[in-house]
Structures are given as structure tokens and as C-alpha cells.
């Protein structure tokens, strides 16, 4: 097994230079997932393949589909045009419609060295998954009665249904991962004595930070992580009628929303800065407000006192002062602004830190985190690795998964006495913002949000609130992707005649002349529409990905091979766009309804069909050829115009060799009032009669 390869997405075509660049979404993803690729597959309705790409890069995609904080969306370049691609929701669509829960994971044990994993959060489970896949016997040791770490005891069920987590746990068990719950590890020496050759510590960050105010120990004051753990493990803490949550992060929001769901009448959040500084996810803040939670900014508690079975909380108002080390403005108390309030429960959710048993003997650094080498995740003890929240402090699920995967690779290196292979980025990153003139030309398409339960309904219980896209919604959303980094390049500058055609035909004003008079096509602006590829008279421009480059030719030769079987029917070849609705079934209707042998050449946008391709289709004996695109629905500019130009050119050739120009047709959705299926039927009939006429003509001749 080649370990080095498993950490990179596999190239589809070997040996051909792939000059595509890493898009910002992929770069921002801790797991480095091939987002552009799976979003592209979704936009073509190829959901199973999308799921395959997703599973290659992520051990537990269904979990991420619910709870990932989607740093990819924050980096997405589409936000420079309108709004980012809804990547997480598209992943959710792919895992649901692609049937992720049915995927079987199998693994064989091919090595003898046992590995122990301490903690079963996402980092621990991901490491177990990969080590088992690489053939190592793995044992996961978990202090709680159930697996999952914060996925089980932190994140509320309305955001992550436990059934999703259970499926992943079951898959691991089926793969043969040994699981020991209710086992708190206090010393690593014992594990080594038991024969484990390597240990991965992923104990998370579960120790809540203290507020450091008077009365914090009073009954009725509870910390956020403990509160959520109790609720998640099935307890029903009694909170009273009025609850205040202190903090501004996701844990605070989750605690408040959980309290509402437990029937508390009035829940407020006290945050010492303003909404702009609030670290919680904006969408979740919005949802909390919808559910009736009152968020009070620039307020902090200074004292708690237990009186008459209630809490008397003294608060003070704050204002923003000079920036602190984190760059955020430091809140400072406003003199004389103290006020008190009676509440029943105070939940403190101001952060957590790891708590590592002393006997582990690992070096502890800032914020009680375990110190490791960031490239190898090794601690100061030989054979002991650490990762996840225990190393970073409270972070995210994807970061934990990435740490688990990295740990698995490095543990394998360690067990095989191999020097860790340097992690080298195989491809260049796409950098640079879109220029105003490019942005201006990009079609604005509104971001589609997936449906969710109404706020009145959802605040009543712990039902999952986010629903899945419909097929059509998902495809339309995926089509918004700009496919950053897979545009075109001039492979051999020497071939360029500097004719300026590309500069003139590009709808996005991308190609330009540099100071020396050479044509440049900057990768960070190109929208990969492919128009210039077909229009360049020197054939100097190619798509950056070998697959895209050869796609039309390869598909055409497939179609021709399969057409050879349709001897008696007139053959019709159709170049059909695969994006959008054509990928969803309209296309299938087209062939099913047709009375002729219609052979489809699937293309990724009709703008990539060159005049030569059309002639080649005729050359193979097609009686008719059509090009069907999404017309006005196309996410790119001018595509139909260029198809029409090429069709006019080919029709001229047909005319001069005695073939009727009507044998070549363009169907574009939205440009005709007719139903495309009916239109095609008519075309097929027409071709049938043209063929009859030519047979008769032939007979008369001979």
C-alpha cells in the first residue's frame, strides 16, 4: 500500500499533465476535499459519483453534512459575485440521495502491530477508520458509555441526529475496530504493557472554563458542556422558567436552544461584545433569534447569589475599548451600569480546555493543550501521538477528522520504521480575486437555501431542523459553482499567432495582452466556458484538466461505437449538455421518446462542441445531428450564440456536398415555445424522410 497516495485525491487520468489549480474552497477545507469536483458532479445529476468523490476525501461525510462549520463556504469565490455555493447542503444532498448509509466499508487485518486510540471523538474515530483500512488492529477506548465524543455529548440532536452517528459507529465495528466504552484511560504505560505499539490521544477539550466571579459555585449555576452532556445522555435537568446563558460561541447558542427545547419559557444569552464579534455561526445566531431567544450584547455577569431557591445575578454593561491580542476590541465595564436580575439557572459557556491525566506523561503547553509536532503529531513520548481538540483547544469536527487521518498516516510510518514522507502540495493554489469586469459578466444566480422546519415547530423538540434539497434545487445550486482553477491555458505559447480572437470572444474579458505583446489568460479570472478553446484558429488554447480536454472526442467515439449496433434505424447523433436540467432526466426523455436510433454524446456545455466535432459526427454516418443545450438557463454567457455560429459554418459545408442543412439542428431550452421532446420528435421524423428521399435518389442513380 502506498501511504503517500492515500492522502491525495486520485488523479483521473495518469500521465497527462493536469494543470488545474487548487480552488480556495478545497484549500480552506481541513480535509482538503475535492469540492469543485463533487459540486460539478452534482450539477450534472451524477450523485453516486459525487458521493464517491466525497467518500474518498472524508471518512464520515454524513456527519459533516450536518455539522461542518464549512470554512470552504467562507473561502468560496462565488461570494465575490453574490453568495458562496451552499457546499455543505450540497454534500448533504449527495449523501442522502447517493445512499451513503448503504455504503459498505470493509477492511482486512494485514499487520500485527496493535494501536490504541484514547477517546472516541471525530479525531479518534477517523484515525481508527484509516488505520483499520491500512490493515492494522485498532482498539478505541472511551470513558463514556457511548462513542462519538462531542458528536454524542456536545452537539445537540436537532443539529445531528444520533442515527447518523450510529451508522458510522456500526460501520467501524463491521470493519473490525475493537471498541471499549466505559473505559477511562489513566496511564499509557499500561497500554504499552498490554502490547499496543502506538497510542493516539484524542481526549478532546471537555473541561469548562470558569467565569471567575463570586457565587459561581452556587447550585443553579452549571457549565455549558456539562449541561449539554447531561441532556445528550438522556437526563432532563430541571432549569426553571428563566435561564441565562453566558458566552457568544456555538456552545452558548446550542445550550440556549437546548434550554428552549426543554420547555424553558425565557432564555437569554449574555454576551460581553457585540454581534459583529460573536464567534458563533451567523446562521445559527439567526435561528436562535427565530426560536425566541433573547441575545443581550455588551453585558456580563459579575456576581451570583442564591436567594429563595432562585439566583440573583448582578450584571454590568460593557463598551468596546482598544483591540486585544486577538485583534478584537476588548470590552470594558461601563461605570455605574450595574443591574441585577432574578433567574432560575445560569449556564456558563465561555469555553473549554483539555484535561490530560498527569500520568500520561505528555508535555502540556498553552491552554492546557498537549504539545505535538504539527507535521507528525508526535508527543514527547515515543509511540505516543495526539490530535484533535486536545491539541488545538476547542476547534471543529473537520479539523479533528483531518488530525485523525494525519495521525493514521504518521502512525503507519512509525510502525514501519519509515521517515515520514514530506507532505508536499502537488498542485499550485489558485489565488487572486475576481476582477470587477469579470464579476460584472458572471450571471447572478441566487443561492438556494435548503428547506428547514418552521421555527415554531422546531423549538418544541429535538427533531433535526435542516431538510434536504430537492433534486432540482440541488442541481441549480451546484451549477452556480465557478469551477475555479479548471479554466484554460495556452499550453504552447509558441503556437499562438496573437490573432486576438480569444481576447475578443471571451465573454468575461479574461485574455489580455501583456506589455511584451503576448496573450495571457489568467487562471484566476477564467470561467472555464471553453468558448475560446473552440474559437482559437491556432488551436493553442486547451482546458487545464486532461479529462475536460478530451471529453467531447472520447464521448463521441463511445457514441459511435454503440451506434454501430443500430443498423436499421437512421442514426442521429445528439450533443447534449449535461448540466442542469439536462442531467436530470429531460435528456433521458429525449432518447426514450425518439423513434430513431438516437445516440447521445454527453458534453459539459455545448460551447465546447467544435465545428470539427459536428463534421465528425456526420462522417460516421449520422443522418442527422443535433445540439441540445440549456439555452437561457445556462450558467455561462453567450454559449448558444457560439453554437449557432459553428452550426452556420457546418451547414455551409453540408450544403456544398449536397446534404440538406436541416440535418443539423440546435435545441435550446427556453428559446422556443415548444417542448424539446416534441421538437426532437419532429426532427427525427424529418430525418427519416430525408433518408428515404436519399435512398430513392440513390436507386434512381444506379
Amino acid at each position: 500500500m502506498n501511504v503517500a497516495n492515500t492522502s491525495y485525491p486520485v488523479n483521473r487520468t495518469e500521465n497527462v499533465p493536469d494543470h488545474s489549480l487548487v480552488p480556495p474552497c478545497q484549500d480552506a477545507c481541513p480535509l482538503h476535499m475535492d469540492i469543485r469536483e463533487y459540486v460539478g458532479l452534482v450539477s450534472q445529476g451524477r450523485i453516486m459519483e459525487a458521493l464517491q468523490v466525497i467518500r474518498t476525501g472524508n471518512p464520515f461525510p454524513s456527519i459533516c453534512a450536518y455539522v461542518c462549520t464549512h470554512p470552504c463556504e467562507d473561502a468560496c469565490r462565488r461570494s465575490q459575485v453574490d453568495k458562496p455555493i451552499a457546499i455543505r447542503s450540497l454534500k448533504r444532498f449527495a449523501v442522502e440521495f447517493g445512499g451513503d448509509r448503504m455504503v459498505q466499508a470493509e477492511a482486512e487485518t494485514t499487520h500485527a502491530e496493535k494501536v490504541a486510540i484514547v477517546g472516541s471523538g471525530p479525531a479518534g474515530l477517523a484515525c481508527a477508520y484509516y488505520l483499520k483500512k491500512f490493515g492494522y488492529p485498532v482498539t478505541v477506548l472511551e470513558a463514556h458509555s457511548e462513542l462519538g465524543g462531542m458528536l454524542r455529548v456536545g452537539i445537540p440532536q436537532y443539529r445531528l441526529p444520533r442515527e447518523v452517528l450510529d451508522i458510522e459507529v456500526k460501520r467501524l465495528t463491521r470493519m473490525g475496530v475493537e471498541i471499549r466504552t466505559d473505559t477511562r484511560v489513566v496511564s499509557l504505560d499500561l497500554l504499552f504493557e498490554l502490547g499496543y505499539k502506538a497510542i493516539f490521544i484524542t481526549i478532546g477539550a471537555h473541561q469548562s472554563l470558569r467565569m471567575g466571579i463570586e457565587g459561581e459555585e452556587s447550585p443553579g449555576v452549571i457549565d455549558g458542556a456539562t449541561f449539554l452532556r447531561e441532556v445528550n445522555l438522556g437526563l432532563k435537568p430541571s432549569l426553571g422558567r428563566k435561564v441565562a446563558v453566558v458566552g457568544g460561541g456555538n456552545v452558548a447558542i446550542d445550550a440556549a436552544r437546548t434550554a428552549i427545547r426543554l420547555g424553558v419559557k425565557k432564555v437569554s444569552i449574555l454576551y460581553r461584545r457585540t454581534r459583529a464579534e460573536m464567534p458563533a455561526d451567523p446562521a445559527e445566531i439567526e435561528q436562535a433569534l427565530e426560536e425566541g431567544i433573547d441575545i443581550r450584547y455588551l453585558v456580563t455577569p459579575t456576581k451570583v447569589k442564591r436567594e429563595n431557591k432562585r439566583l440573583n445575578v448582578t450584571c454590568i454593561k460593557m463598551k468596546l475599548g482598544k483591540p486585544d491580542e486577538s485583534g478584537r476590541q476588548r470590552p470594558v465595564p461601563v461605570k455605574g451600569s450595574k443591574f441585577s436580575e432574578q433567574i432560575d439557572t445560569l449556564i456558563a459557556a465561555i469555553g473549554q480546555a483539555p484535561q490530560t491525566p498527569d500520568d500520561f506523561g505528555v508535555r502540556i503547553g498553552k491552554g492546557s493543550t498537549i504539545q505535538v509536532d504539527p507535521n507528525t503529531l508526535t508527543t514527547n513520548r515515543a509511540g505516543v501521538f495526539a490530535g484533535g481538540d486536545a491539541v488545538t483547544g476547542p476547534a471543529t469536527v473537520t479539523e479533528a477528522l483531518a488530525a485523525g487521518r494525519l495521525a493514521a498516516l504518521r502512525i503507519v510510518d512509525y510502525l514501519q520504521h519509515r521517515y515520514p514522507l514530506p507532505v508536499k502540495e502537488a498542485k499550485e493554489k489558485l489565488s487572486g480575486d475576481l476582477l470587477p469586469e469579470t464579476i460584472e459578466m458572471i450571471k447572478k444566480i441566487e443561492r438556494a437555501e435548503p428547506p428547514s422546519l418552521a421555527s415554531e415547530v422546531r423549538a418544541r423538540d429535538f427533531e433535526p431542523i435542516e431538510l434536504v434539497y430537492s433534486w432540482e434545487q440541488a442541481i441549480n445550486e451546484a451549477r452556480r459553482c465557478l469551477r475555479c482553477g479548471v479554466g484554460v491555458e495556452i499550453l504552447f505559447q509558441d503556437k499562438c499567432a496573437t490573432c486576438l480572437t480569444c481576447l475578443r470572444v471571451c465573454p468575461y474579458h479574461v485574455p489580455h495582452l501583456d506589455a511584451s505583446g503576448a496573450i495571457c489568460i489568467p487562471a484566476d479570472q477564467c470561467q472555464a466556458c471553453g468558448i475560446c478553446v473552440a474559437e482559437c484558429p491556432a488551436k493553442a488554447i486547451v482546458l487545464r484538466k486532461p479529462f475536460d480536454r478530451r471529453q467531447v472526442n472520447d464521448e463521441l467515439s463511445h457514441a459511435i461505437k454503440s451506434a454501430a449496433e443500430l443498423k436499421n434505424k437512421p442514426l442521429i447523433i445528439g450533443f447534449c449538455c449535461q448540466y442542469g436540467l439536462f442531467g436530470t432526466g429531460t435528456l433521458a426523455d429525449l432518447w426514450r421518446g425518439a423513434g430513431a436510433g438516437v445516440s447521445i454524446v454527453p458534453v459539459l456545455c455545448v460551447a465546447k462542441v467544435e465545428a470539427s466535432h459536428i463534421l465528425s459526427a456526420f462522417e460516421t454516418g449520422a443522418e442527422g445531428v443535433f445540439i441540445a443545450g440549456c439555452g437561457e438557463q445556462c450558467a455561462r454567457e453567450n454559449t448558444t450564440y457560439w453554437v449557432q455560429q459553428r452550426v452556420a459554418k457546418v451547414r455551409k459545408v453540408l450544403g456544398s456536398i449536397g446534404l440538406e442543412p436541416e440535418r443539423l439542428q440546435v435545441f435550446a431550452l427556453g428559446t422556443t415555445t415548444e417542448d424539446p421532446v416534441e421538437e426532437l420528435d419532429k426532427f427525427v421524423e424529418q430525418i427519416g424522410s430525408l433518408r428515404l428521399a436519399s435512398v430513392i435518389k440513390g436507386e434512381v442513380k444506379s
Binding site: A497, T498, C499, V505, A538, K539, S612, S616, S656, I657
Partner: protein, 227 residues
Amino acid sequence: MIVAEQKPLEDIIRMIVPYERVLILGCGTCMTVCDAGGEREVSFLHNALQLAQARSGEGAHTFSEHTVKRQCDPEFLEALGEKTADVDVILSLGCGIGVQAIAEYLPDMPVLPGVNTSFMGMTKESGVWDERCAACGECRLEDTGGICPITRCTKGILNGPCAGVKNGKCEANKDMDCAWILIYQRLERLQQLDKMRRYYPPRNFRAIPRPRRIMSKAETVTGESNG
């Protein structure tokens, strides 16, 4: 730049009848720029000829294709190498100069012109070219504000405009600007209208000595004859 137009397919089909193995040869310079004979057009013609042959059932040609950077320089033709070994004819999509350069370079190989070389011109917009120079050998653009009356006036007159101008358009073609009105307007802008008032003697239509040749190097190196 030299501008040409591909010959009608029918003409090309007729021209190649006597030959079996045809090499379609493109030119990577002017013919590429004017869409008449670059690599893309070479492929397209290749496809078209093959389709024509398949559909008519006549002819048994085999085609090959290649494009050189510039046909009018023999050094570029050297790159053809073995590509001409198994062919009976070269169908050149170079301009008339390219065709002749090949004929000179390959004395035993028939060459056919695949394009009609039309004029020297400039791009008006993508896919549209306009004639701008007739290579008359006696340039007068100095006197005409940089607008050539020989190519742009239908009659090529030197002391225009003639009486046929109407609303700034030419009597021969109502869509065409009168070159002399354009010249007048430009000279007016440049405050050189006095040039309009001068009389220009008729062009010298005496036979220009041909073949013409231009040298940008010293004709003889001292002490040597160039014979």
C-alpha cells in the same frame, strides 16, 4: 496582414481529383489570424473533405494534415521533413506566397492553393477584415491624412471626392463611406485642409518593373560582388 478566404469546398474537391494522398498544410501566421488556414481550419477542412468523400462514395483520397509556423520562409518548411514523403500533393492553406514558397522548396511536389488570397487589411471586428493597402509602391498617405484613397475609394481617384458622393456615402455602394469625405474630415481635424486644395497628378500606371525585390541589407559588402 495578408487576408484570404478559403476556396469553396467544391473547388477544392475538384482540384484534388488527380491526386490520391493529400497533405493539407496550414500556415501559422497571417492565414491563422484571418481564419483561412490555421490549425483549426486545417482540421475542419480535413473533416469536410473526408465527409464529402464518404457521402459521395467517389474518390479514394487519403488525407493528412500539418501546420507550419509560416509558409513563406523556407526554414520553416524544413520542419515538414518526412511528412511529405508519402504524399502526392500539398494542398496549401497559405497565401499565394506560401504556395510559391513550397513550390520552390519542393521542386517535385505539386502544390495547390486552398485559399483565395484577397488583400492586405486589418481586423474590423472578430471575424471581419477590411482591405487597407493595395501595395501600389508609391504611398501617399502623408497627403491623405492616413486614409488610402486607392483601396477605400471605389474608383481609386486621387483628387476626390467625385460628383457621386451623397450624404457621405459612395454612389457605387450606399453602405460604403466615401473615402474622400473621410479624408476631408480627417484633414480638417488635423488643420491640414490645404492638402485638399492641391492637385495630385495621375498615378503612374507605367509597368512597374517586375519581379520586384526589396532589400533591407546593404546591397554589396565592400570588396565583393553580389553576383
